[in-house]
């Protein structure tokens, strides 16, 4: 199983292994997240690492073990390893997929370990102590509301979808609901897999297929970049704007500078992993209650508020 611990996490594990006697009364928090397989996940990895580094300074009594997995089976192994060898007191998990992770996480929960689930829920309710949730239907709805606002007379749009998953379905459903009855017609929706190259190809073909497209819902900033490259190359000026999503720094910057092709963005912050780790640390170290559900809303970013969402240091 190929597993790569980020450098700092590796150092942490070595420290912990080397000095078990000294670190006897430290509490270990496990963090298990998907590997950086696309831009958003890259940002999430960055924020997880940054938060772990910061919290280890703040709480000397806390130890973190961070592992990244490139598929669900690997993530299950990671969690089992943490349980068996690191004696974790709490687990922060962003499940690769809900179904395969539900059983193993439930087993941990039953043995008394604090569980924080991030972004994707598990398939059985009530396992987690804390759920830091992203709002996927809301992500689609906010995007849809932007379209109805920007195109009051309706129009014809194309949609680029992500990797076929529940997340993607929920987003599209939220979007369709928001534009219903507004006169905006979705000409076609194809999967661009949250990938620049794929969305470039799909957009080129959309442009060949439809002589008139008013706007594009790219639903992700990586896909928006691919789509815009295809539009530029074709020299088409019928497309008024491309709406991405997730708040990549390069795209936020363009919105901030008033680029007409990128008039807005919808957040789905990869930093939600930081929220989850911080809240878990608070829960483990203090009496402040942190259990329950914490939903991180998707917000519309416009040129007016873009500066607030611009993180120049993040890779995403």
């Amino acid at each position: 199983m190929t597993r790569h611990f980020p450098k700092a996490a590796l150092a942490v594990s070595f420290l912990a292994l080397a000095a078990p006697a000294v670190a006897q009364d430290t509490t270990v928090i496990g963090v298990s997240i998907p590997a950086a397989t696309h831009g958003w996940a890259g940002g999430m990895n960055y924020h997880a690492q940054a938060t772990v580094d910061r919290l280890e300074e703040v709480y000397p009594q806390l130890d973190f073990v961070l592992s990244t997995a490139s598929n669900a089976a690997e993530q299950v192994n990671d969690i089992e390893d943490m349980m068996a060898t690191r004696d974790i007191a709490a687990l922060v998990v962003l499940p690769f997929e809900s179904e395969p992770l539900t059983g193993p996480v439930q087993a941990l929960s039953e043995s008394g370990i604090w569980i924080t689930v991030v972004d994707r829920g598990l398939s059985v309710e009530g396992i987690e102590d804390l759920y830091v949730a992203g709002d996927n239907p809301g992500f689609g709805r906010v995007a849809g509301e932007f379209f109805t606002g920007a195109m009051p007379d309706g129009g014809q749009i194309v949609v680029l979808r992500g990797i076929p998953t529940t997340i993607d379905n929920e987003r599209l459903a939220g979007f369709e609901e928001a534009i219903e009855g507004s006169g905006i017609e979705i000409l076609a929706a194809e999967h661009g897999n949250w990938n620049r190259d794929d969305s470039f190809t799909v957009m080129q073909d959309f442009l060949s297929r439809y002589p008139e497209i008013d706007a594009v819902w790219a639903s992700d900033d990586d896909m928006a970049i691919g789509a815009m490259a295809a539009i530029d190359a074709a020299g088409r000026d019928d497309i008024q704007f491309v709406l991405g999503g997730a708040g990549m720094k390069e795209m936020i910057q363009r919105t901030m500078e008033g680029d007409e092709m990128v008039p807005a963005n919808v957040t789905y912050p990869p930093a939600m992993i930081a929220t989850a780790i911080e809240m878990t640390a608070v829960g483990v170290t203090s009496n402040a209650p942190v259990s329950g559900t914490f939903t991180i809303g998707s917000v519309l970013i416009t040129p007016e508020n873009a500066e607030q969402y611009y993180y120049p240091d993040s890779p995403f």
Partner: protein, 333 residues
């Protein structure tokens, strides 16, 4: 669809053997289907798009034809392309303050890509021929190494070429001469040179002999080690060439760059009539294979008849059909 294909193929029996015609028939059938489904399919813009996109896989697949004909395999090319693209971007961005935007920096990028490609190919080739490890295992290993390296270089995010530099470099993908874009021209040149080498040159005969039976070739005074090594180096070089055409398109590289390119290249080679176990290969067949794969994707995007969830299934069926057509024709003869 199969029935129509075989029906159209039958009258041509007096011409070259059906193994040769099989992939061509499949390609023509696809073009007819595409033209019937969407009037824009045969338009200049769409054809340019499809051919330019095919160029990356196509250039790599030309090199893959040599490797497979010599009895080898290379799974690392997709990751290698991503790694070289990342390296090129880092080198060009780093040299920007010194060289400024202009031709020298482009040549530096091109040289980086070609040298990195040759070295990567040499590493694969040496591990396979000198250390004697299975090609499958060596290239599976390097595949993981290059993919991780590009993720690490990009810090989990995306490496982007400096904006000014990108604008200067961009025409390499989008422009061309006489309305034919550069990627298509470079692809065509690789194919012509590759075809001459493989089917007419001494090197090509040695490659095929090595793939057919390495021992016999060895006793016929063919330096099989050097021939196999040369095929991997050639493939590495061509991955470098493909990357030179790829980087100006979006000006970025990330861990998703070039995913599954190796399998697409291998599929194109096999659809084109090269034997997976080696001994016989043809470069022009590979071109047909590449075009078949690109056209399937293009047609699926241009129409609504198939749920996008099933795109992969349609591609899979078409790949198998294309090969059946070819093999079926062979036994029929």
């Amino acid at each position: 669809m199969t029935q129509t294909d075989t029906a159209t193929a039958k009258p041509a029996r007096r011409l070259p053997p059906m193994t040769v015609i099989g992939p061509v028939v499949a390609l023509i059938a696809l073009i007819i289907i595409g033209a019937m489904l969407n009037p824009n399919f045969l338009g200049y813009a769409n054809l340019t798009n499809v051919l330019s996109r095919s160029a990356f896989i196509g250039i790599i697949a030309v090199g893959m034809t040599f490797v497979i004909t010599a009895g080898g395999l290379d799974l690392s090319v997709g990751s290698m392309a991503a790694f070289i693209a990342g390296l090129m971007i880092l080198v060009m961005n780093a040299a920007l303050p010194v060289l400024g935007v202009g031709l020298p920096i482009i040549f530096l990028g091109v040289a980086t890509a070609l040298v990195a490609g040759v070295i990567a190919g040499l590493i694969n080739g040496l591990l396979i021929t000198k250390v004697g490890i299975e090609a499958f295992i060596v290239t599976l290993g390097t595949m993981g190494i290059y993919r991780s390296l590009v993720t690490w270089m990009a810090d989990g995010g995306t490496l982007s070429l400096d904006f000014g530099l990108r604008t200067f470099y961009r025409p390499v993908y989008y422009d061309g001469i006489l309305g034919i874009s550069w990627p298509i021209i470079v692809f065509a040149l690789c194919v012509i040179v590759g075809e001459i080498f493989l089917s007419r040159g001494v090197f090509g005969r040695h490659v095929a002999a090595t793939g057919a039976n390495a021992e016999v070739a060895h006793y016929s005074s063919v330096n099989t080690t050097r021939v196999r090594l040369a095929t991997y180096v050639l493939l590495g070089l061509l991955v470098g060439v493909a990357t030179i055409m790829y980087v100006p398109r979006l000006g970025s590289a990330s861990q998703t760059t070039g995913i599954l390119w190796e399998l697409e290249a291998i599929a194109a080679v096999i659809i084109g009539g090269t034997y997976l176990k080696g001994g016989f290969g043809r470069v022009w067949g590979t071109v047909i294979g590449v075009l078949i794969l690109s056209l399937i994707e293009n047609i699926l995007n241009l129409t609504d008849y198939v749920s996008p969830y099933l795109n992969g299934a349609v591609q899979g069926v078409m790949i198998i059909l294309a090969v059946i057509l070819q093999r079926g024709a062979k036994t029929g003869k």
